[in-house]
């Protein structure tokens, strides 16, 4: 069952919205309507549903209507037409009091430029939502302290925001949003004002927090990398319409329109593609200590390869055996692999990005083994695949 359900939502800025919506439905473009009626279509017939605990990313360039859309979800902006249900209640029909309750208890928001209050301390900022709810001081400070701790700001309670860096200020913003324990977090370009490294950190921390808290998150961004990283599903917006909704994989692999395709093409594939996505899972291996050099050479011949990975009974990677070495061992009448297994070889984790794999492989004429955290063998990546994928990315970027 979905926690947020948006149906046929429109937002028109300016006078005479009815006429504008009629024109939209007749197929007029945004610019034509602007020229004829002086109104701007902010959101054009948008529908989607979000499941509880889902991270739903809305992505688009500036002016695509994504910020308007997120503000409709708590009615900081009044929608013109359509319905938005949160927990099965149509919030577009709520009166002032119900709306205030919704904002206090169910939906909280994190802002692009942090919007934390400079005249309040970190603690007062974090407890602001609870203050509005009328929670007594000790209790709200207790809860605020907990959420400050969750975002890693323990010990900063009594500082004023001006003493904090941008990243820390946004942590205060996040703590303020979490303190009221809402079902839904609205994050409006929450990390866009941060520099790239801090931004990555914040993304990782949000993912960790999300693992624990399982909030429903609506995250607005203009950055596809961020969308792919954070989103369980991604909605792509253009001119106030949603042009595609899907998992990161679906958006990457089958862009629905030319617009999405262009967007996706801008992504640096070498950062998005991981070992898991390009590895060969059905790789031939030999087992240690059962198999000897003869078996090794035989398998290599069967599969037209010049080296082979060795694993133990639990499928843990031990090393690699080269064809030349196996041949020498046979000539020397050896029966075990001990003397010819090369154990010191580079490996990749399933989520190692393409770029790093490339670095691991340079200068070595070996395929790359992909292993998990417990050194279990998962598959192999051969040089050719890496090169081909890198080349694809390069072409797409041009």
């Amino acid at each position: 069952m979905s926690i947020i359900k948006v149906e046929n939502l429109y937002k028109v800025f300016g006078k005479d919205p009815k006429r504008a919506i009629e024109m939209v439905n007749k197929g007029y473009k945004k610019d034509e309507i602007m020229a004829k009626t002086g109104t701007t279509i902010g959101i054009n017939n948008v529908s989607f549903e979000v499941e509880p605990g889902e991270s739903f990313v809305v992505m688009g360039l500036s002016g695509s209507g994504k910020s308007t859309l997120i503000r409709c979800l708590n009615r900081l902006i009044e929608p013109t037409l359509g319905s938005i249900s949160i927990n099965d209640k149509d919030i577009t029909k709520m009166d002032k009091k119900e709306l205030s309750e919704l904002r206090k208890k169910s939906v909280s928001m994190v802002f692009q430029n942090f919007a934390i209050f400079p005249h309040y301390t970190v603690l007062e900022n974090a407890s602001y939502g609870l203050k509005v709810m009328g929670v007594v001081k000790e209790e709200r400070e207790q809860k605020a302290l907990e959420s400050l701790e969750a975002v890693g700001l323990k010990g900063w309670e009594n500082y004023y925001p001006s003493k904090l860096s941008g990243g820390m200020q946004q942590r205060v913003g996040l703590a303020r949003a979490l303190a009221t324990d809402p079902d839904i977090l609205l994050m409006d370009e929450a990390f866009s004002a941060l520099d790239p490294l801090i931004r990555k950190d914040m993304q990782s921390e949000l993912l960790e927090l999300q693992d624990k808290l399982q909030k429903t998150i609506i995250f607005i961004t203009h950055d596809l990398d961020e969308a792919l990283r954070l989103g369980d599903r991604i909605a792509l917006m253009k001119d106030g319409e949603i042009v595609q909704i899907g998992t990161p994989e679906e958006i990457m692999m089958s862009p629905a329109t030319e617009y999405v395709e262009k967007f996706v093409a801008d992504v640096d594939r070498s950062r998005v593609l991981t070992a898991e996505m390009i590895m060969k899972k059905t790789a031939t291996v030999i087992h240690y200590p059962k198999d000897g050099p003869r078996v090794a050479l035989h398998r290599m011949k069967e599969n037209d390869i010049s080296s082979i990975f060795t694993v133990d009974k639990q499928n843990r990677l031990i090393g690699i055996v080269m064809a030349e070495d196996a041949l020498t061992a046979i000539e020397n009448n050896e029966t075990s692999l001990d003397s010819i297994i090369q154990k010191d070889i580079p490996t990749a984790l399933p989520d190692t990005p393409l770029k790093e794999m490339f670095a691991l492989m340079t200068g070595k004429n070996l395929p790359l083994a992909v292993v998990d955290e417990n050194s279990k063998f998962k598959g192999i990546v051969v040089r050719g695949t890496v090169m081909a994928k890198l080349a694809e990315g390069g072409i797409a970027n041009d």
Binding site: N74, S108, N113
Partner: protein
């Protein structure tokens, strides 16, 4: 030649006569109330020995601002005593500060009101323009018509002259608060009043303080002109020096005004800086 004449003069004269006739009971009450305030304030300043006031003012300035300004306050007041203008100086302080107080009492709420409603602001703006640009001598006349000669009409004239910056800068300060801040308060369920109280007003205080400073300066400037309708104080000293072409007396009265102006300006400036820092 065209024959065109607007009898504005007659209209206004007739209008004012009617208005003052119907409003007279209310005006008399207001006049008495304001009179009590100014006279009380003035009496309070003149009642203790001069040295006590000098020390008290210096101490107050020290607490509110800095020891350097406190020294200036003490020496400045000592000079006015030495120039034998202590009484008119205190009278001017009483008039200027009660004028400022009344201006702020009316002006700041009006400014807040105008910040919340575009309609109110649109109505207020031309009225404020009118109040600020009309030659200040002109509204001495209705002040006298409504309240007669004396300190109360001087106070009213001061109020009209000094209120616009308080209104404008209050409105500006509140409207300047970033939209995201206001959105943040509202997104957590704050209503209009709570958003104003928690976020907009505290963040607007530096600008509002600039309005207070302007208001005091304009009130002080107006006390001189208001001496023509019985405002008394240092303005009266200056006025008499003009009537008797006594340049020395003019300089003495002028110096008193300058000392007060510098003191009040630095004091409010330091205060608004302190507010900003916190």
């Amino acid at each position: 030649m065209i024959d065109f004449f607007i009898p504005l003069e007659d209209w206004i004269n007739i209008g004012f006569e009617k208005v003052s006739y119907y409003l007279s009971p209310f005006l008399r009450a207001a006049s008495e109330f304001l009179g009590v305030i100014i006279d009380g304030f003035e009496d309070l300043l003149l009642w203790p020995p001069e040295i006590v006031i000098m020390i008290l003012v210096a101490l107050l300035v020290w607490i509110l601002a800095s020891y350097r300004l406190a020294i200036f306050a003490f020496v400045g007041l000592l000079i006015t005593f030495g120039l034998d203008i202590w009484e008119p100086t205190m009278s001017t302080v009483a008039l200027a500060l009660s004028g400022t107080a009344v201006s702020l009492l009316v002006g700041v709420p009006l400014g807040i009101f105008a910040s919340q409603s575009n309609v109110v602001e649109r109505i207020l703006r031309p009225i404020l323009d009118f109040m600020q640009t009309l030659p200040s001598f002109v509204y001495l006349i209705p002040a006298v018509m409504f309240f007669g000669m004396g300190k109360v009409s001087a106070l009213v004239a001061i109020m009209i002259f000094a209120m616009p910056p308080a209104v404008r800068l209050t409105t500006l300060g509140i409207r300047e608060v970033s939209g995201e801040m206001v959105e943040a308060a509202r997104a957590f369920g704050s209503g209009r009043w709570q958003t104003l109280k928690d976020v907009q007003l505290p963040l607007a205080i530096p600008t509002i303080m600039a309005g207070v400073n302007q208001c005091i300066m304009m009130a002080l400037a107006m006390t001189v002109i208001a001496s023509m309708i019985g405002g008394g104080g240092l303005g009266n000293v200056v006025l008499r020096s003009m009537q008797t072409l006594n340049i020395g007396m003019g300089a003495v009265g002028g110096l008193g005004i300058v000392i007060l102006a510098i003191l009040l300006d630095r004091l409010t400036e330091t205060l608004s800086k302190k507010v900003k820092k916190d």
